[in-house]
Symmetry: C2
Subunit: 765 residues, 2 copies
């Protein structure tokens, strides 16, 4: 690896490789897939929350001209599979059929149609007759846990449990509380936001004459889609090709295998024609994945000086009708509470419960959004009770070098402290705090929230990034990577890393991705690890090409390869840079010697690196309307070496926008009697618009680069969505002296709590 | 490499990977390319043989509704380029413009149109007005060589010479002839067959929003198309992606870069829409490539016992209007005469001449068809004069182990002798010979022809095969190869080689090819080297994967990797095969260890290997109609290890069919006054049909495997088209006692020569 102190490509906000394609509209998304003879697939969804299908009759639909196939549970393979098919995870939950004779939530698919137009397919859905035998339904985790409630699945982890309760302990919790001067406890509750990606789920399938299946899908985990489709359809991996080019977002939720992907493949098989399916916006709610609604009971003990003595938590995640990522979210979200703020005595218990609700899945933050929301809020509450500045309390307890992270790995550096301190100076904390001193109708306040998040899901030998790099005869290079491009610019970052390592200009590196037949295996784009893990593998593969390049150059320059370096498209003698050749001259054909074909491949088993952030937010609360506006955010992130500053800042701004959404607006709701979805559209499901966005002054620290990451880079994908919620919530308290222990915080709740406060204060007066 | 004495996959006629796709019609060819907004491109071709364009007016065409663009020489880049852009060849001929203000043969393109339908494009061609200023035209090599004739190009190799005369000498030619007891000379002439591939040339182009060009093209040389398009259009290689999936034949002629490929790219650029172009059948004649018509003056000296003492030749190839493969064909075709039959004193001179005729290019046999036709026929003539059996004469002089081949490499083994001897026994030679004894209307005879042909065009460091092999987590494997699949089954052979080397079943190996962005560089499918060179590279890459596989297996089986072998999808301990694991068990995830991702890549610099054949043909001549029928052929080939027997036999049968075609039927003709094409269709250009085919009893010897080829394999692609012509011609002599020194041999010529013979015999009597 090049250990040059300065970099030519890495650290620069180069023009994204996909920029012009996206700006001009020429970028191809899955729904753009077109082919002669294309059929349009649609899914019929149930309108009951829990029922057995007594009868399903597709005959009228099949009789409709233009309808080519109808699938129901009666004519699809009955294979139990997991929605989140991580081939390496110990905690997958095989609890789904492609189509079942039973439905478990309102909106679940019961049949699928392929027809010559979308209109005909739509009409055919109406002609499919379904008779349901209703079953009692449960929607809350409390109802589901009641032994008298119906079992939603017949599985062995206890009544409606997605997995066995997960317990994480450290030290002696009883002693910890006994040693405390202050014990504080509370229940925190998180709503049901959905990722609401711009590009609805889409899939197109085509079978070739040799029994091979090609699947275009908007997925973050192409190799997982390949694996589970191959398994369920009984094909070898070499017969399933999954393709995905551009994507309009995923945010974790597109790392499940969905009903429509199976159904699209089966419709294409039955009709022997290409079939395309695209969700309507409503279906992205009904058939998509939400964040896990959660309840976190949290209790902590403190010494008078702020030292944490004990932490106890019981976390319950609502998985909805299927397990999906419930196990992973439960483990990651619950175990996250061993860290962020140091504590020697810990007892955590995490549960995940089936209900007859929409399916919760992976969503940016992966359980940690919920638990760190509770933790950070309670630190703020404790600071008040201890009479301390909340920043000082958090700084005192912030994890640091050598502390053990949730993954069991020791923390590298002092990232969290660095972020808190840097932000403190920048915003002028604590001077900016209002501490409820504002008195007008519109009051302002500042709050701060903290987070840490790991890159790579399964550190060590369980995980791997892979890459192949080849160099063309003109010295341009191609990276073959299995990483997915959700729209984050990750492939730009990877190309930068390859360009830097090879010493070629960024424009001369192209990136091939999204074709499981072609690129090396990748676990998928999640866990903030694409740049970290895929980038490191790309760097290692490029280094192997560089080695071959320097060897050839050494022959041409008549020197030893060890004397050579390569930068800015030229190979040169260290100490005598005038003795040089362009890379094209080295690689290209020369008299009697052909152009070279250099290929390098590499596998990288990552460690786990942690990124840190402190978000400082200023809010304004209208005490007459209850409206909360975020005025400005100063997000200070420590993510190691920054490969593409604008790209990293973009991730942070987007995370803040989503975080504002779930903190103040977003909650996908179902009717508590019928389970019917109430706001599966963008009118009733309110997301922050550009005019709701605050000013954001992003700060990227590079104080704790990770030795395992490419050039010291760490992940940034998930981090920015975690700390913004607590920062806002703490800022609201700073503005109006009212604490909330849930999200989203709606205006009517703000008004209600202000009224209660006034009543209390009136009573006290 | 595995040195196992027996093979599991190699040598078996496995089911071709593309079989079902082709049989069911689902295989995608370039002309199947469809895309929303597709435009249809057509080329306007000139109707003069040689002229300057005085005026070209596209305004009426552009005014036609649906016409989106018209290109003429006035609005395309003026870059001189070679039609055969071998990046490593010393002898490319940059003599073409995309569109020129001068046309050099009847049918050359002068303008191109893109329109919303093929019909509109066709109509628009008629509306383009062109005024020509005619120039004197020359059609024969003699006319062209006349210093008073017009220069077709302004280039520096002498009047209308495509390249400087090529001279090959050995020993002392004068002494050789002085030592001869018999000197024989004659002029031999070869017509103008065209490859007449089933799939007409086709191309489709699409520019992405980032200025990148994607080209689907039916080409044998995707990387050459990429290279020259990039150069002429001023793009880096990483911005040009050339794709080709299935092909319906090429036979060498699709290894040029054609006018339509440039025009298609430029039309797509100008219209910002995808554009597709497909040749009509007529255009495959007008815009395609033919074999080089040739005249070979050949003189040889023999001792009474048949020993060759001298060989002298002057070969003139007619290149047509452009150079294309003229240099290569001249060098390869002429220098071939140093070999086949041993001779110490040789003087050969090869020329290639421009004429105002259709462009000659690469075509199966690449100049050798013509020169070995002359050589073998003259050996038969000499045998008659010497009173020897022609087989005995050829066997006596056959090249053998250690002799120097045309490439300068020593011959390995005794392939030619083996083929002659084996065939002799099989057909019962010389007993079957008729020697003109038949007397009825229909007479039969046997003849034999010999050939040798090298695999790989530029042996040694100048040439390379490349491959990448990756293994999936279920133990299936993927080969990434730049080799092209013309329909020969080469990718099946390559997958067999990978399967054999990895020890996995053939069905578990898939082959990715035809995407220049993805696969490693390849020179293209020609020179009979795909299996030989690409196959060896694939074997080497697979061996690297195997090494990683065995290392991992050794850990699991707790032994040394050197003790292990892998066959039939299992890794086992040599000597204790019960201690074994399936490959999937080795590669797939295990408790705590993830699935592995093994990748291997390799570059192979080939030597030159020679394959040999003797064809024995029985013909029947109808002395009343002059019709010649080939009754049976016994082709005996020595091609080293046979990877896929049915595939190799298919190559041989197809070559014999094409050889019968050019020997008896096929000749693309132009009017000798105007240069107008006379038979550019399958009614007037007669090819052998299935009912014209003889019985073929193919014999594949494996007596001289090549140490450089995969498992000892050598090439077979070009061989079978070479010896069949002389075999038929010699058989005609055996049947009716008449010798021909040209092809094709038409019935009217047979009748004419029979009449002359009768007159001579009458005079003699």
């Amino acid at each position: 690896m090049s250990e040059a102190a300065t970099h030519d490509v890495v650290g620069r906000s180069v023009k994204r490789g996909d920029l012009l394609a996206k700006v001009t509209g020429s970028a191809q998304f899955t729904a753009d897939f077109a082919w002669p003879g294309l059929l349009y697939g649609r899914i019929k969804r149930c309108n009951v929350a829990h029922a057995r299908i007594r009868r399903i009759d597709a005959s009228r639909a099949l009789a409709l001209p233009g309808v080519k196939a109808v699938l129901t549970h009666e004519n699809v393979p009955r294979v139990l599979h997991a929605g989140s098919p991580h081939p390496r995870s110990a905690s997958v939950t095989p609890d789904q059929y492609i189509l079942d004779d039973r439905v478990r939530y309102w909106g679940e698919g019961v049949a699928a149609v392929a027809a010559t137009s979308e209109e005909i397919a739509e009409e055919a859905l109406e002609l499919i007759e379904v008779e349901y035998e209703p079953l009692p339904a449960v929607f809350t985790v409390e109802e589901a846990a009641d032994p008298s409630s119906p079992a939603i699945h017949d599985r062995g982890f206890g009544h409606n449990l997605v997995l066995a309760p997960q317990v994480f302990t450290r030290g002696d919790i009883e002693q910890g509380f006994a040693d405390a001067d202050l014990v504080i406890e509370g229940e925190y509750e998180c709503g049901r936001p959905t990722p609401a990606y711009m590009e609805p789920n889409a899939c197109a399938c085509l079978w070739d004459g040799n029994g091979g299946l090609t699947v275009w899908s908007s997925t973050q985990t192409a190799f997982m889609v390949r694996g589970i489709l191959a398994e369920v359809l009984g094909l070898p991996l070499s017969k399933v090709r999954v393709l995905v080019d551009h994507m309009g977002g995923g945010f974790g939720a597109k790392q499940d295998l969905f009903q429509h992907e199976f159904l699209c493949a089966l419709l294409a098989k039955q009709t022997r024609r290409p079939v395309r399916m695209e969700f309507t916006r409503e279906e992205t709610f009904l058939g998509g994945r939400t964040r896990h609604p959660a309840k976190i009971w949290l209790k902590q003990g403190f010494k008078r000086d702020g030292t944490l003595t004990a932490r106890q938590a019981r976390v319950v995640f609502n998985s909805g009708a299927y397990g999906s990522h419930g196990p992973g979210v439960t483990i990651v979200g619950t175990s996250a509470l061993v860290s962020l703020f140091r504590c020697d005595n810990i007892h955590l218990e995490g549960r995940c419960v089936y209900t007859n609700s929409p399916i919760a899945g992976a969503y940016r933050g992966y359980g940690v959004v919920q638990t760190y929301y509770a933790l950070d809020l309670q630190m703020d509450e404790a600071a008040e009770r201890l009479g301390m500045d909340p920043l000082a309390l958090k700084l005192k307890n912030a994890v640091r070098e050598g502390d053990i992270a949730p993954s069991g790995h020791p923390i590298v550096g002092h990232g969290l402290e660095d972020c808190i301190r840097h932000g403190r100076e920048l915003v002028g904390w604590p001077g900016v705090r209002r501490q409820g001193r504002d008195e007008g109708v519109v009051r302002t306040g500042w709050g701060m929230g903290c987070e840490m998040h790991g890159s790579s899901a399964y550190p060590g030998i369980k995980e791997q990034g892979n890459a192949i790099v080849k160099m063309n005869e003109d010295g341009s290079a191609v990276l073959l990577t299995g990483t997915a491009g959700l729209g984050t610019g990750a492939h730009t970052a990877l190309a930068q890393i390859v360009a830097e390592e090879l010493g070629v200009s960024f424009e001369r590196v192209s990136c091939i991705h999204g074709d499981t037949d072609v690129v090396p295996w990748d676990i998928g784009a999640f866990a903030s690890h694409t740049t970290y893990m895929g980038g490191r593998a790309a760097q290692m593969a490029a280094a192997k090409v560089k080695e071959q390049l320097l060897e050839r150059a050494a022959k041409l320059l008549e020197c030893d390869a060890a004397q050579l370096d390569v930068r800015q498209d030229h190979v040169f003698l260290r100490g005598d840079p005038a003795r040089r050749l362009s890379i094209a001259e080295v690689v290209g054909p020369r008299k009697g010697i052909p152009a070279a074909q250099f290929v390098g491949s590499a596998t990288y088993h990552p460690t786990k690196s942690y990124s840190f952030a402190a978000h400082f937010a200023q809010v304004q609360v209208d005490t007459e309307t209850g409206e909360v506006r975020v005025l400005q955010v100063v997000p200070v992130h420590e993510i190691g070496k920054v490969i593409h500053p604008v790209g990293a800042a973009g991730q942070i701004e987007g995370g803040i926008q989503q975080g504002i959404g779930h903190t103040l607006y977003e909650d996908y709701q179902i009717d508590t009697k019928t389970g019917r979805s109430l706001n599966a559209n963008f009118v009733d499901y309110k997301m922050p618009l550009s005019m709701d966005m605050p000013e954001i002054h992003t700060v990227l620290l590079e104080t704790a680069p990770d030795p395992g990451g490419p050039y010291g880079a760490k992940g940034v994908g998930e981090d920015p969505i975690i700390a913004i919620g607590p920062a806002i919530c703490n800022a609201i308290f700073d503005a109006i002296g009212v604490r909330f222990r849930h999200f989203p915080i709606k205006p009517e709740q703000v008004l209600q709590r202000l009224r209660e406060k006034r009543v209390r204060e009136g009573e006290a007066a």
